[in-house]
Symmetry: D2
Subunit: 348 residues, 4 copies
Amino acid sequence: MTNPVQDQVRVGVFGGSGYIGAELLRYLCSHPGATISWVTAHSRVGQEIAEVLPNLKGAIPGSFVSQAEGEERIGEVDVAFTALPHNESQNLLPKLAEANPEVRLVDMAGDFRTNDPAGYEKYYGCEHTASDWLPRFVYGFTEFQREKIRAARLVANPGCFATGMLLALAPLAAAGRLQGNVCLLGLTGSSGSGNKPRQTTHHPERFSNVRSYKPLGHQHLLEVESFLGSIDGPEFSLQFVPQSGPFVRGIFTTVFTPGVSAAELAEIYAGSYGEEGLVEVIEGSPDLRWVQGSARSWVGVGGEGGNGVVFTVIDNLGKGAASQGIQNMNLMCGLEETEGLRMAGGFV
Amino acid sequence: MTNPVQDQVRVGVFGGSGYIGAELLRYLCSHPGATISWVTAHSRVGQEIAEVLPNLKGAIPGSFVSQAEGEERIGEVDVAFTALPHNESQNLLPKLAEANPEVRLVDMAGDFRTNDPAGYEKYYGCEHTASDWLPRFVYGFTEFQREKIRAARLVANPGCFATGMLLALAPLAAAGRLQGNVCLLGLTGSSGSGNKPRQTTHHPERFSNVRSYKPLGHQHLLEVESFLGSIDGPEFSLQFVPQSGPFVRGIFTTVFTPGVSAAELAEIYAGSYGEEGLVEVIEGSPDLRWVQGSARSWVGVGGEGGNGVVFTVIDNLGKGAASQGIQNMNLMCGLEETEGLRMAGGFV
Amino acid sequence: MTNPVQDQVRVGVFGGSGYIGAELLRYLCSHPGATISWVTAHSRVGQEIAEVLPNLKGAIPGSFVSQAEGEERIGEVDVAFTALPHNESQNLLPKLAEANPEVRLVDMAGDFRTNDPAGYEKYYGCEHTASDWLPRFVYGFTEFQREKIRAARLVANPGCFATGMLLALAPLAAAGRLQGNVCLLGLTGSSGSGNKPRQTTHHPERFSNVRSYKPLGHQHLLEVESFLGSIDGPEFSLQFVPQSGPFVRGIFTTVFTPGVSAAELAEIYAGSYGEEGLVEVIEGSPDLRWVQGSARSWVGVGGEGGNGVVFTVIDNLGKGAASQGIQNMNLMCGLEETEGLRMAGGFV
Amino acid sequence: MTNPVQDQVRVGVFGGSGYIGAELLRYLCSHPGATISWVTAHSRVGQEIAEVLPNLKGAIPGSFVSQAEGEERIGEVDVAFTALPHNESQNLLPKLAEANPEVRLVDMAGDFRTNDPAGYEKYYGCEHTASDWLPRFVYGFTEFQREKIRAARLVANPGCFATGMLLALAPLAAAGRLQGNVCLLGLTGSSGSGNKPRQTTHHPERFSNVRSYKPLGHQHLLEVESFLGSIDGPEFSLQFVPQSGPFVRGIFTTVFTPGVSAAELAEIYAGSYGEEGLVEVIEGSPDLRWVQGSARSWVGVGGEGGNGVVFTVIDNLGKGAASQGIQNMNLMCGLEETEGLRMAGGFV
């Protein structure tokens, strides 16, 4: 990356007042190789960032700017994150890429994660109006796309459920052990629904509740099936059930692997993640709280006899969004991949 | 049942200070056809019941008595519940049945739920010393065992996870639609671990945590497989993963049924539960909170194309323990099955 | 009360789909002396009640009707509860009272709780347009207004914070021990904010949060000061701080009584509540969970040397709203005061 | 501080597996000017630190050593933290100080916080056996003791409730505005009880509970009264009520100041904290979640007319323990006071 004047990566963030944007800012604030240039926020223009996000008090100066200002100042930054609602990204990203051919763009939305506009329309409920841009994006599932991401200018950051699934599924697929009906379940915290109050995230109704939604039909299946389809192997069909739990951060994913023993699973994941800086493998179940507030993921394996189960835990705002975005930024900008991502969450 | 002197069923409870015992007392307190005669509690002998269980203040008089006193006074009651730790029941129940041949006994522990002492030893970690009594017990999964329970003097009340599973699995088995690897997951609240503090139920470590345990090896598989084995049909293998969630009451069970569509599932469960007083069937996912504090269960169905998913929600202390016990008591004593069980939990 | 045709009190509920309305229905469902005639719900007209409130499945038949229909059918009922937003009540109640001079009305809103229209305007932010009706209402703080309520046709049910405060303050005032600056704090659950999602009840932002609001300026001060003003005694000034905690049900109120010892407090409250059916007094702190889902309240006393502290716990939807409303209904209709209110909440 | 060989402060931690010890390690892990030399843990000797504290995986190498080994290796470190149970510190600290006259010691327990052995015995229930050491310790309430701490070799870190109180009270005392009966309340999360399971932190019984304990008699009154006693001003009497809430981290403290208006409070706190790096002042109530996982504190002010209220929020494991300890270490070692403490917690 050409960055002659200064040794800090200059970063812009579109959509900095949402939960994903806020978490990007949290990581960027203490990132030793990055400097925040500007942050947009639809409804907060002119307000101090730290007034809207008091957790960042003392850590970040300045005020939110308008999206228009972000677009104008795209030339000032080396990297921009777009943390906007689905469907808004497809309008904005091409404009940004054309306005600044040098800028690296990391899109946090679902718009550019596959090369399948029909699938997008089916799952996201609206037409894809920038489908010619789809092939230019690299899918940012870091651990399996490292070289492509290093060379990329446009990255589509994976969805949160997708990341939880792929951490388990990609090694299985690469080992040729993904086949038939693959049953899996992801239990997510309420922050995955974003910062806009809704009935399903109304505290009295979520406090001690569990429910499922979109069984077998969640939109992240699109990107997961697309990514796994690029790996040779037997036929398989994902049976994915997303669920909502009474906590804020994290996704606990469970994958059933009848016919693949715990011992074989342990070997597969040790092979995939043994050298990884931000993924740990253990026998038995990880605890979801180990990753809350952190960029780290855990994969656990268990089972009886010849049948196995895989567990993954991620922070949906971390590896499921912001910290994976920073991993990708680091790679795209020639920084150490885990730079700014090594701080630990609390034990409790 | 011969009950000539009075028209109230006289009830004794062994183990009334544990969570299941406390919930039995809560239901019995307001049961119009039952009167509590005595309640034992290991470490609380002589203490007022309502001092130990302040939620029952004003609802229950008297003090806990010793287990020895309960045994001596077994002749005073028409029904006794035993809510004791596993392995204690097998010593006590035969003694009680012999001391009062007229008494109805409902055991809440795992000791008499199958006719398989070897399985008991494998899953519960100790020898079964009353295995000749096993065939005398009826498995108390009420909705599918009604006639046997009515005629029974000895009932083994199902386990909490087992109940959550069977509500989904029994109708499938009866329809001949349970086959191959059946993947299912049960997410439980912390009250399932009982009232003794442990690290996994220590508030700071459970508050926003999710974890799994005993994947594919939970002891309730023993009774579920045993009960389903009594229904003719294809071969199947249960792949059950129990999980712990950050809430107190309830179990949310998810069963994957690839090859059985949502429409077929709807038909199967409407057939099984359409006339039931305490089981509801809906399209889509139920909310766990709908059953907290209540005797009622919900079964939800969903899916895409030819593949389905079944959800069940129960209160682990209700249908998963105490309220199912009361259902069984009602049947054994010739009362209306839902007597004392119709009060509703809160909307929030 | 003239009720010749049937011995059941016939009840109508305005606003049955809100949290207070839903809790009224929950109590009424299992009330042996009451029958629900109709229930209105602004935005749910025509929907089955048990579809909107699944916790009531099997317990309540029928569908919500429009407010207009409720008004038309006011002649069919012996009692009507109005669980509507503040300011709507002042329009509706006079109309109802005039349409059916025999009906008993219990208003759950803040409109008729004092005889101070100026105070209403100050605290509730809008003019009182039915101020001539104010003197006709009895303030429904049951334990201290029993005889007036028995004779009343119009009752203004106390606010939730007000009830938590008054349980502690009224006996102090009656004992002449309320004087000077009286510091007190009420910590409430999220159900107190109602069923409409807001930022302060958005699960990710409420899950582990505590905050205060309207310090020293909460609107329930109006009714508390008004009621206490009717008791002779020294001058005092209430310094009340309301707070929001990360739970759903209940209010924990703390009152500082420097100069009044724990022993004296114990005596005062034993005198006030010793014979009460739904209020308990203990030494030390009560647990909030003892009252969740229940009609019962606890008062605890503690302190060091000559200085004391009083704690009260109520369920904000129970004694703080619906169950106090039913207490009042029972008195107004000549029923046993605790009828329908004796069922216990869970130990956990 | 003489530290000629290396520019990193070498740190030892006694009691690294408890919650306070774990939080010290979390801050030390990413502290740019500190290196962890060894960490003791009573019952975990020989186990990998990151196995016991999985949140620190990848962030901290090595295993726990025995306390004996820590004592032997006291000469290897520039600073040692003692995060041991109360009463153990009084035995250990003098030994350490004598074994290495150069070492800086920060004690996290209650043993050396005042110069009042009789008070210690009264509040902590056991004799003080090292009372001659009491005057050698500096009370580590950083913002008000900065110069003394810089010069100190022995620091007694304040208690969690004490810190929450003093952030509000010390400026009031310094302004001569603390007088008469001062009513205040602190609501704490469950992590304040430590990592050993107890009934009051058993998840089913804490999940949605609030209760008070030791009203007007909490042991932190000892150090608060002692510290405030060193500031000239009118007589006052603290009426402090500690409470337990259903969350893990943080203390929300409320102080009533009748006669001191919100405007005057704002002025007082702006004067005290306007230049502080880790304390913020706002009008109105802060949110507890703003400080969870962070070293930062907020003070909020509100009120009506001439009467005021002060709110403080701290993370009990942060400013209430570990991060204040690091602040003190930084001062004692000549580092920037906020070094290693500037990372932000999450917005949710």
